[in-house]
């Protein structure tokens, strides 16, 4: 096993077993025919659904003729695409196309003409019309109108993320720069799982990447990179600590709305919010999100009951004109993903964060740190004690936050913040080994205050109010010396942040 960071820099070859220099790293402008390829003809308005079974599978795909797209992102006929590892995906065409593939056996593949793409395209154009109206209005007016802010909810594996991708990809095609928000902590968007993110999609997405595309690196990439804002939740399910979940959502909402107001192109493009599987019992959460992101279009996918219930609850005389609730059909291509698949995907997202993808290998650094110099928190996991009863805390409105801060009863304040994060006073190998930690952006922290205060609630307050600067994981922990070796994404002389949040995710080489 290679221990990352042993020589400061890790040899790319040992870390990225999937490197294949023969792959079209730089498209030559004419992708050549694949050897021993099979051909699929996809007729107009149909999609080819295919699955790669094992993590060692690698599929090479080429668009031979026609026009095709994957989740709204158009494929190039000059490029060979490669898909690595277990995945279930599809290629859709409005106009008909021919696809050629080779490289591995597919565990499943078929062409289906049952597609919801026409509904999704209608939705896109209807949203685009709103964007256009916003742009037209802004040309003459001093107050700026924002583009549509869309929230997508639905059951597990109902195609929420696919729709979110399609809507943002289409908007990008029309020169928009919408923000894609991911509130599902079990998946990763331009980050690792467990995070709540907002990312401006200003260019074509990378369809080969399971994580939608690359975030900024110091090196060159084939696609334009994306720049997300990342808030740490750290747990796998929102119900594991709904207080923390709500708190970070409202934090993310503030930044995302500021960006919309600050950048006219982005503002007129609006946003698309992807969510975990909410039920009607999570109604309050949905309502919070609607207010945090000023949602004006709510899409319910393939869940009639939820649609009716939400409509009943949300459409009140007070906001009748502000919120449109619509349902969208669930694609027959949606497949239930089992736990193992989800976990493998999570592991892969973490690996790619540090080590990059096949076409862009990254070299993380390792740093030895004294554990006593670090402040490590972990999200509180209320095991029934706090339950889901105390929902009244923090409705997500910052005005109320202020109220809490100025609340004379400091004891209460302490209690509330302590429901979000708790400090790990004695980090041991047992706790830290292979654990992935979020590094809190030091620019939002007053380190002196951190070093000399016992006021833990203030520390937590600062921490939860600050976004993430990056991630690290502990490769080795020496309990006797109180030291640990951390892998960080970029070269640094010391830990980029002294404040870390331990996530529930572990990364194994």
């Amino acid at each position: 096993m290679s221990i990352p960071g042993l020589q400061g820099i890790i040899s790319a070859d040992t870390l990225a077993p999937h490197i294949d220099t023969s792959s079209a790293l730089v498209p030559s402008g004419s992708a050549t025919a694949l050897p021993n390829a099979k051909t699929v003809e996809i007729s107009a308005f149909s999609e080819w659904r295919f699955e790669l079974g094992s993590s060692s599978d690698k599929l090479r795909v080429r668009l031979v003729a026609g026009e095709a797209e994957m989740f709204g992102t158009e494929l190039s006929s000059n490029m060979e695409y490669s898909f690595t590892g277990a995945m279930k995906t599809c290629i859709f065409t409005f106009k008909g196309c021919t696809i050629e593939y080779a490289g591995c056996e597919l565990s499943s593949e078929y062409v289906s003409d049952e597609s919801c793409m026409t509904n999704y395209l209608n939705l896109h154009f209807a949203l685009e019309r709103l964007r256009k109206e916003a742009s037209t209005y802004n040309e003459t007016s001093t107050d700026k109108r924002l583009g549509p802010k869309v929230l997508i909810v639905g059951n597990k594996d109902s195609g929420k993320t696919s729709l979110a991708k399609i809507l943002t990809a289409y908007a990008t095609k029309m020169d928009r720069q919408p923000i894609l928000v991911n509130l599902d902590p079990s998946t990763a968007n331009f980050s690792i799982p467990g995070m709540l993110t907002g990312t401006t999609i200003s260019d074509i997405m990378n369809v080969e990447n399971v994580n939608l595309g690359e975030t900024i690196t110091t090196g060159p990439t084939f696609y334009h990179q994306k720049q997300p804002i990342v808030k740490c939740f750290g747990l796998e399910s929102f119900s594991d600590n709904d207080k923390l979940y709500k708190y970070e959502i409202s934090q993310l909402g503030i930044s995302v709305l500021s960006r919309l107001r600050n950048d006219q192109v982005v503002g007129e493009s609006g946003l698309v919010v992807d969510t975990p599987a909410f039920k009607i019992t999570d109604y309050e959460l949905i309502e919070n999100i609607i207010s945090d992101f000023e949602i004006d279009v709510l899409i319910v996918i393939g869940h009639e009951r939820l649609f009716v219930d939400l409509k009943k609850k949300l459409i009140k005389p007070s906001n009748q004109n502000r919120l449109t609730v619509l349902k969208m059909p669930k694609s027959s291509g949606c497949v239930d993903l089992d736990d193992k698949f989800s976990r493998d995907l999570q592991q892969r997202c973490i690996r790619e964060y540090f080590y990059g993808i096949e076409k862009q290998v990254l070299s993380p650094f390792s740093i030895m740190a004294n554990l006593k110099d670090l402040i490590i928190f972990k999200p509180v996991e209320p095991n029934g004690m706090f339950g889901s009863s105390g929902l009244s805390f923090l409705s997500g409105d910052m005005e109320e936050d202020e109220d809490i801060k100025t609340e004379p009863n400091a004891q209460l304040k302490f209690t509330e913040y302590s429901k979000l994060l708790e400090r790990i006073t004695e980090p041991t190998a047992e706790i830290l080994s292979n654990a992935v930690l979020a590094m809190v952006n030091p620019s939002g922290l007053d380190l002196n205050r951190f070093a000399y205060t016992d006021d833990e609630q203030a520390l937590i307050e600062d921490t939860v109010n600050t976004s993430v600067v990056g991630f690290t994981y502990a490769v080795s922990v020496d309990d006797t010396k109180g030291k640990a070796r951390f892998v960080v994404p970029s070269p640094a002389n010391q830990m980029p942040s002294k404040v870390l949040i331990l996530t529930k995710f572990r990364y194994h080489e």
């Binding site: 209608n122 990342v230 640094a492």
Partner: protein
Amino acid sequence: MASSAEIGEDYSKSLTSLTFNSRPIIQNLTIIAQENVHAAEYIAKAIERQIAKAVPSQKLFSFYLLDSVSKNVGSPYNILFGQNLFKIFTEAYVLVNDENRKKFIGLFKTWKSAVTEAGLPLFPEDQIGQIESFLEKATRRNRSAPPQLSVELLIREIDILCQMVQERLNKSPSDTKAQERFKVLMDLKRILTTQKIASQQLQVVHTQLVGIRKDETEKLTLLKAQQTQPQPQQQQPQMQFSGFPFQAGAPLPQSAQNRQPKFQPPLKQRQPAAPSFSTNQLQALLGARTPPPQVPTNPGDVSSILSSLSQSGVFEKLNLKPAPVSAAPKLDQQSLKNLLGLSQMDPTSSIALSGKAVVASEDQILARFDLTQQFLNSHKPSAEEINLIYNIKPNKCSNCAKRFKNTPEGNIKQQEHLDWHFRMNKRLKQNEVKTISNRAYYLDDEKWVNFKDDEILGSLEEVTTESQAAERDGRASAEKRDAKYVVLPADSTDLTTVCQVCKEKINAEFNDDLGEWIWKNCISVKDRDGNERNYHYDCYVETRGVKRERSPG
């Protein structure tokens, strides 16, 4: 590292293997050419030499290589070959046999429409023009080839047509249609004389004129016939064509009939080469996907028919010219305007046509879409609507499939985008060998809120990395200037180099992190001869800035 001249020599040697038509060899040689762009001048020379010295029966293969390199690698090869393409081509052409000549012409035809990634013509137009007129002469000797289209030719054509219309007007001065046509022709002439029209557009205009000419000839014949034999004309054509649904009703009004002389039987006999399909067939071809074309009694415009034709792929599939008989008589002010609009655009004719047709109504199309449950469930997007996310941007990036509008603004965006690819591809190639990439740290809330994605989209070269360097600065006292360094070439024996701007000596240092000897704060740039030149990073940026100021745009 081998010098550019050496690479050229090596290349020259490998060219001798091109004694038969081998796709793998040509591909391989293309890749070598691509990998050694810095030695492009020598490689291009080598290929030219090979063409010159190869035995006639083998010249074609070297030409295929020239073609492959120009099309697949593009700049600078297409520019280098473009400089004396006429000479290379014609010298070889005269030496080869007839069979090869056909292939030469076939190859040349692909050059006429070939464009670079940036959408510019692959080879300079003057060279292409010269070759074209050369081939014209060369082939005319054997058989009378159709004359080359030119503005002058078209104007002459228009003049003749004007005379014909004038003659008709003299006979029936009250014919408003003829008056209108006369006016249109004069307008067209004015446009042709005052504006630069792309050759594809000339072709379109030419097609129109041919149609008008036929039409006029018939009308004149008809007029003459009417004068000599002044009986009503209605019956004969109606008997002949009662199968046409739109003629089955009452007798056509005189004016309408005048505009439809194409259904006169004598015409058909006179035109053995007339398009092999009728209006009916045309309608059937267009089918359900596009609205049926306007029947001739309707003053529809030509370009909408052209665009619907091209959208439904009739052109490519059947290789049909737009039906002059049906389209030509309808050349009116409107279609003239469309032609005018087209002439400003990139001449990728059919795509441009459909693109143009959509652009005009993007807002109108969007206005159809209501954010209501009923609409979203029931509406079936039409081809025109789907094109809003496809053909409305006809220019597709050859790398990543990103699309661009065919407008000046779109072209600038595409150019920037391609420049970005070029820089990235260059760096990616270097990366395979050396440089280290890292995941950058995320921005904090304030920086993210103020971040502009145009920084990533890259109209500026170094923005992304510099902002990252700045990011890193703030956190770990990373050395900003160290981000700019040049790793000593593996074959270098000298630890010092000289900045080409300030002539100061730069000493190499050993960098522990990289495990390499580097010149700090330094940048390496290839000069025109493909030689590596080192500069202080600051010196390079400064002088480059000066150059930019001197040559605006």
